[in-house]
Amino acid sequence: MTTEMTPQTTASIPRIEIPPVIRELGLDKQNRAVIGRLILTGGFGFAAEGPGGRLYAQVRIPADELIWQPSVIIMPHEGELELELINDDDNDHAAFLPSNGDFQWIHLVQHSRGSATLSLDGPGCYWFGSPYGNDEGRGLVGVIAVLGETPPQARLDRPPQPRP
């Protein structure tokens, strides 16, 4: 059963533009430079931090773009992410989302809006995607990038080492 809802912004997500060369080549459009759209060309978004360190972010599927916008959601630290997902497309999609315990799954029919709570416990890049048809190959692949360091008690007892 579905109900109508009014869209709300759950987080302030400043977006970072993708490199101009991708636009110039047309890799940021479906069926232009290549068949689909180059993955991860839906921009970057920062999760906002709420009370108690809980993080909030929003991701949309724009009409006929087959892309997550933003494609890269940046969590400033590990923890729980409250993610709002909005499908603005005229086609149905869905999402597999990473979370400790199990993948989370949500069906996003056209013009729908849902949410997920995701638990991610360390720095690194975590995949998410839409399993419909070849949504993933066409561009509906995203990354949740968790920033931060390993807690001090787990680090090696050694002097700071050079990084690349």
């Binding site: 315990g101 199990d102 996003l108 013009h111 080492q161």
Partner: protein
């Protein structure tokens, strides 16, 4: 514009046949039960090696030399992969399943754990640890198994956390970090429960970190001790590292395979990995303790009581992480270890003194080890010129395990006869970047493998079964007079433990790189083996790089 509510995301397992809970059989799995796992509970496989001694011997004899030819699949559990994951083309099913009173707990690749009905294969619950796809992995997206005790299932995750799960539901109870993913650390080890501790080691010796073992309290997850396998300046063993600079801080020696345990001595026997960089010894002059060692560790404190180094100043990537099998001979408490360097060592496990050393590989040219344990190096990597040595960096035996049968008094070892050409190439250390110090070209011709029976009294070969491919999976010995082992090309074999005759085989469809077990439910004996080819194939069997990857767990039994 208005939107239809899509609701909230739900766990994927709710859209499957998974039951959601397992019988509370793990509630009463205690240290005391694990101590007597083989003698009092042969129907179970309670700990990584089946028992603390690491023998990988099941006394079950319903399946035996007379009837094994009638063995057939009882059930198969498959899973597959979802989405983009770390080392996507390297994942393998390497685990040892644990079985407690009809429930099997087994880990897979990329943070999966499943509880299965050991009689039917039905999935009871599942757990997924969300694993970053950019985690630093040496040799594949793998995990070697879980530990079970006091109602909990323990998993070491790719991102170097120890996670405790509720054994009845699979829900996470606590999670503790024990490695630094930014320092190239990860975890693939099966945890070991001893007393009220759960013990894990780190992976990452190819990235110039500093190996360590960590112990946590089973109940609370409190960190109890950490033992580094490379000493700091001034600590015992530090004299085997250069006095200047920080090679010790990048020295490797990671403990990425489960140890064994002698309860009378209260000693853990844990193998340590290669020094870093793997092949460039010029930056780490000295023996480089405690790399390529067995360390005897006080289980209560983590203190190293003694050590034996199998390959001093290793420049061939000869980890010694693989099992140390505890056995008795003529009243002597011994330890048997097949090393990557091609030699079989028998030590007095009370003090680490060498009792016997003998080659088990056919071709060894990197060096010689005489009866006293003295090592003479013959071939070592050079700058500007490739050298060829046997065994290659994957070793004459990889991490996969040998077995010991107290019934026959023989060891059974999987053999890899693969050499390599290596040229030293120096490089600067940068954290979390591979730190090998060489280029490596593993042989693709003139390679083979075998299952060998070895007499620990002499170190001599008793029988062998030769295979065109190296044998890269663990061996299981049983009370039915059988030895089981899988091949890279998918065949799973049963051998006569006394003669080496092949008595049965089954094509599993993917290569074997795991550890088979045996257990019994409702009076029926099963042989279970995870099957899924992957990991560092170009190292241990480059001729099998194209073998189909897979992810199935087979359970075999006799017909009713």
């Amino acid at each position: 514009m208005s939107y239809i509510s899509a609701g909230r995301a739900i766990p994927l397992s709710t859209l499957s046949g998974v039951v959601g809970s397992a019988p509370p059989v793990a509630q009463n799995v205690t240290f005391e039960r694990i101590l007597e796992a083989r003698t009092k509970e042969p129907h179970n496989w309670l700990t990584y090696y089946g028992a603390y001694d690491g023998q990988r011997f099941s006394p079950l004899d319903q399946i035996n030399t007379q009837n094994v030819s009638r063995l057939r699949p009882a059930w198969v559990f498959q899973f597959g992969t979802i989405g983009i994951m770390a080392g996507a083309s390297t994942y393998a099913f390497e685990a040892t399943p644990i079985v407690v009173d009809g429930v099997m707990y087994v880990s897979g690749w990329d943070g999966w754990v499943w509880a299965l009905d050991a009689k039917t294969g039905k999935e009871l619950w599942r757990y997924k640890h969300a694993s970053p796809f950019d985690i630093t992995l040496c040799c594949g997206n793998v995990n070697r198994g879980v530990a079970v005790a006091k109602g909990k299932v323990f998993l070491a995750t790719l991102n170097a956390r120890l996670v405790a799960l509720d054994a009845t539901t699979g829900k996470q109870l606590w999670s503790r970090p024990f490695g630094d993913v930014r320092a190239g650390e990860s975890a693939t080890v099966a945890p070991l429960v001893v007393k009220n501790l759960v013990i894990v080691g780190s992976s990452g010796g190819e990235f110039g970190n500093r190996g360590h073992l960590d112990a946590f309290d089973i109940d609370t997850g409190e960190h109890v001790w950490r033992t580094y396998t490379v000493p700091k300046p001034g600590e015992p063993g530090s004299e085997t590292w250069p006095a200047e600079g920080e090679p010790w801080a990048r020295g490797g020696g990671n403990c990425w395979v489960t140890g064994t345990y002698d309860p009378e001595l209260n000693l853990l026997y844990w193998g340590t990995g290669n020094p870093s960089p793997d092949f460039d010894g010029t930056v780490r002059e000295g023996d480089n303790l405690y790399t390529d060692c067995v360390i005897a560790v006080d289980a209560d404190t983590g203190k190293i009581r003694w050590h034996y180094q199998f390959t001093p100043h290793d420049v061939w990537d000869y980890d010694s992480t693989m099992e140390c099998i505890l056995f008795e001979l003529d009243g002597q408490k011994l330890l048997g270890h097949f090393d990557k360097n091609g030699y079989f060592f028998v030590l007095d496990r009370t003090n680490g003194k060498l009792v016997r050393v003998a080659p088990f590989a056919d071709r060894i040219n990197w060096g010689q080890i005489d009866a006293s344990g003295k090592v003479t190096v013959l071939v070592a990597p050079k700058e500007g010129e490739e050298v060829h040595f046997w065994p290659g960096p994957a070793g004459a035996k990889e991490w996969t395990h040998a077995a010991y049968s107290p019934q026959t008094g023989l060891f059974y070892v999987p053999l890899q006869e693969v050499g390599a050409r290596v040229m030293l190439r120096r490089r600067m250390f940068k954290e979390n970047i591979p730190y090998w110090g060489a280029h490596v070209l593993t042989d693709t011709e003139d390679i083979y493998g075998a299952i060998k029976a070895v007499d620990p009294r002499t170190g001599n070969e008793v029988w062998r079964w030769r295979n065109d491919h190296p044998m890269c999976a663990s061996v299981l010995a049983t009370g039915g007079g059988l030895v089981f082992a899988g091949a890279p090309t998918g065949e799973f074999y049963a051998f006569d433990a006394r003669t080496g005759d092949v008595l049965w085989q089954f094509q599993c469809g993917s290569g074997h790189h795991s550890s088979p077990i045996s257990y019994m439910v409702d009076g029926k004996q099963y042989i279970a083996v995870p099957v899924g080819w992957g990991a560092w194939r170009e190292g241990f069997d480059p001729k099998a790089l194209g073998v189909p990857p897979g992810n199935a767990l087979f359970a075999f039994a006799l017909p009713d």
